[in-house]
Amino acid sequence: MRILIVDDTTTARLFAQKCLANIGFHDADFMQAGHGIEALSKIRACPPDLILSDLMMPEMDGETFLKILKAEPDLQDIPVLIISSAGNPAHRETLLAMGALDVLPKPFSTTEIYELLKGFLNEEEDEDGWGD
């Protein structure tokens, strides 16, 4: 499984990757991008199976990135989990209507991200489960 993490800070990308590895995605191929433009370039070259994206980023923010991705027929089915510190219920509804898989507010725990992504673990065919 290939997972793209889009965030402008290295800390956030590494933290998300560490959480995903802890919940069972330890065999995934992780890709990283610092903003929406870089993410779109990497996705077009090598489409991932799952995307985690921040909202507030330089160059191109997460909402614009989501809008462009969902308008591309070849890429629109890739699930995008939005992770953001700048969310509220109204904005969450907007992002869900745009096609986001879900919106996870920062800070998040390993348990919270597991609950949202456990369905993808079957695709990963991980027999160990998470938390080992």
Partner: protein
């Protein structure tokens, strides 16, 4: 700021606006991201070189938040967050910006749950401002390894 929303909710004579919400945001961020405990303290922060990040609240009303840690504590926190033994100054600064961004977003989501807010991209700066009118200083002890300082100011200067 007449006519604008005071996000820090400062009543006349109140010296510690939004302290509970800020403590909750700091505790939650350190616990979930770094498995570290953050306790409110009135202790003195370690003197010496500090790393400071700043973020502007652009809407619904302008404000600025500074987040500062002694350099050694910054390194300790970064080691916890990254799980790496080898650390760079760039990585520590990056972590300070991400922590401030997360704490600020969590704080504003708590005090304005149904309102849209807009933040700047966090950045590093030379130092926290000297104590001044309209600013509020909060300190948290992190796992007994040192004290971080958060300064809320209601008008970006």
């Amino acid at each position: 700021m007449a006519g604008e929303i005071d996000i820090f909710c400062k009543e006349p004579g109140e010296k510690r606006p939004r302290e509970k919400a800020l403590a909750q945001a700091v505790n939650s961020t350190f616990e979930k991201m770094g498995f570290m405990e953050a306790r409110t303290t009135a202790g003195e922060a370690t003197q010496g070189h500090a790393i400071t990040a700043v973020i502007d609240i652009l809407a619904p009303s302008p404000a600025r938040i500074f987040f500062s840690a002694p350099q050694q504590l910054g390194w300790n926190i970064a080691e916890n967050f990254y799980g790496l033994e080898e650390m760079t100054m760039e990585a520590v600064g990056d972590m300070m910006k991400e922590l401030l961004n997360t704490i600020t977003g969590s704080l504003l989501s708590t005090i304005m749950p149904n309102q849209q807010f807009q933040l700047s991209i966090p950045r590093l700066c030379a130092e926290t401002p000297a104590h001044q009118a309209g600013s509020y200083v909060y300190q948290f002890n992190i796992d007994n390894k040192g004290i971080i300082t958060i300064v809320l100011t209601d008008t970006p200067s």
